[in-house]
């Protein structure tokens, strides 16, 4: 029972941390709860579908379908998170100040919400499909401990959600002055971490060279399956034995998004001079 709790907890944690950060980062956008819920539901049904078609997806592209699918899902999420951060860099200040101008602000808010829906949906889809497959395997087997394993899985789910909520609640306590910087940095690191994961899948499928594998080995100092290791993995994309190519992806995404955010905030300041 404990074993299944840990496995489900690990999968759920990844999605829960992302949702917690994204929910906090979009607190000032009107109606975002509905979009969050919609993303969650879409992700859950998607997860079921992906699990059901795991066979077909896996055999696509001469056996590397799963890696391509994962890399694609992660890649789209990276783009969405990048869009969010760059958009926030130019519009976040207005929303925070409570400016509720009709028209453009609401339209922009809607667009941001659909981005939010996609990001959340994809995260739940990715982690959820693995969990669904795992739970299906337990349910399908005639093992006598099946019901206790399912209970363990439920426990893992609840714990993972609790951590995600804790991150959300914790972020909301950050003073307004630092709030958007904090969430901006967290989203930035989330995106970079996802890019690193995408690279890992492409290396696994032999579509990318690994380039120095591993770049470092911190598995004894901070193992990935320890609690802090798992948290760091979800928050900043920590990898105990990353390939060199993963690092390139990580840094490139970090630099590109940060660059985009700088440009966006600068262009806003140019148009609207300080009083």
């Amino acid at each position: 029972m404990f074993g299944t709790a840990v496995i489900v907890f690990r999968e759920v944690l990844e999605a829960a941390v992302l949702i917690g950060i994204v929910a906090a980062a979009t607190r000032s956008i009107p109606g975002r709860n509905r979009w969050l819920a919609a993303g969650l539901l879409a992700g859950l049904s998607g997860a079921g579908l992906v699990a059901a078609f795991a066979d077909g997806i896996g055999s696509l592209a001469s056996g590397i379908g799963q890696e391509l699918f994962n890399a694609l899902v992660l890649g789209i999420a990276v783009l969405m998170l990048a869009w969010h951060n760059i958009w926030m860099a130019s519009h976040g200040a207005e929303l925070a100040a409570g400016a509720r101008a009709v028209g453009s602000a609401i339209r922009a808010g809607k667009r941001e919400c659909s981005v939010l829906l996609v990001v959340v949906g994809l995260a739940v889809l990715r982690e959820g499909s693995e969990t669904v497959l795992f739970v299906y395997g337990i349910a399908a087997s005639e093992a006598s401990g099946a019901s206790s394993m399912l209970t363990g899985g439920l426990g893992g789910l609840i714990l993972g959600v609790a951590v995600g909520y804790a991150i959300y609640a914790g972020l909301l306590r950050v003073p307004m002055r630092w709030f958007f910087t904090a969430t901006g940095v967290l989203v930035l690191l989330l995106a970079a971490g996802m890019a690193s994961q995408a690279a890992r899948f492409l290396i696994q499928a032999d579509l990318l060279p690994s380039l120095a594998s591993p770049l470092w080995d911190t598995s004894t100092a901070l193992p990935e399956d320890s609690i802090p290791g798992m948290l760091l993995r979800s928050l900043i994309g920590y990898d105990a034995r990353p390939a060199g190519m993963q690092m390139i992806f990580y840094l490139t995404v970090l630099v590109v998004i940060a660059f985009g955010m700088k440009l966006a905030s600068r262009s806003v300041a140019a148009i609207r001079p300080e009083p």
């Binding site: 497959l133 696994q204 594998s213 105990a240 034995r241 990353p242 390939a243 490139t252 985009g260």
Partner: protein, 117 residues
């Protein structure tokens, strides 16, 4: 996103060209193929020997009816293999040592190690 992004595509293009120039020509293709079988939630063999410094294609056949997830932190690889099907993953080049892996859905029984010499 009206102004300022004209420079970004050219930055990206520059990074891409740099990457392509750095990449050795032989990206695709492995130096050997090795097989693993999953049966009764166990790996066969439980210890697989592969040579050091070579990129290797690992073909995993899942003979069980339920899916299994091949996962190894040491190798930094994970892949779900649906029931009654096969999948392949590329590992290496690796330094000599022992790299444990597990079947995450049945960790108690499904475990093994890749021994690199």
């Amino acid at each position: 996103m009206k102004n300022g992004f004209k420079s970004l595509p050219s930055y990206l293009g520059f990074i891409q060209i740099l990457l392509i120039l750095m990449v050795p020509v032989e990206v695709l293709g492995a130096d050997g193929e090795y097989s693993l079988v999953i049966q009764e939630h166990r790996f066969q063999p439980e210890e697989l020997k592969i040579p050091a410094g070579k990129k290797v294609k690992l073909i995993i056949e899942n003979r069980d009816a339920t899916p299994e997830e091949f996962e190894s932190h040491a190798l930094n690889r994970e892949k779900v293999i649906p029931g009654k099907s096969s999948a392949s993953i590329f590992i290496g080049p690796l330094k000599p040592g022992r790299y444990p892996f597990v079947g995450e859905f049945n960790e108690k029984t499904a475990k093994g190690v890749i021994s690199v010499e």
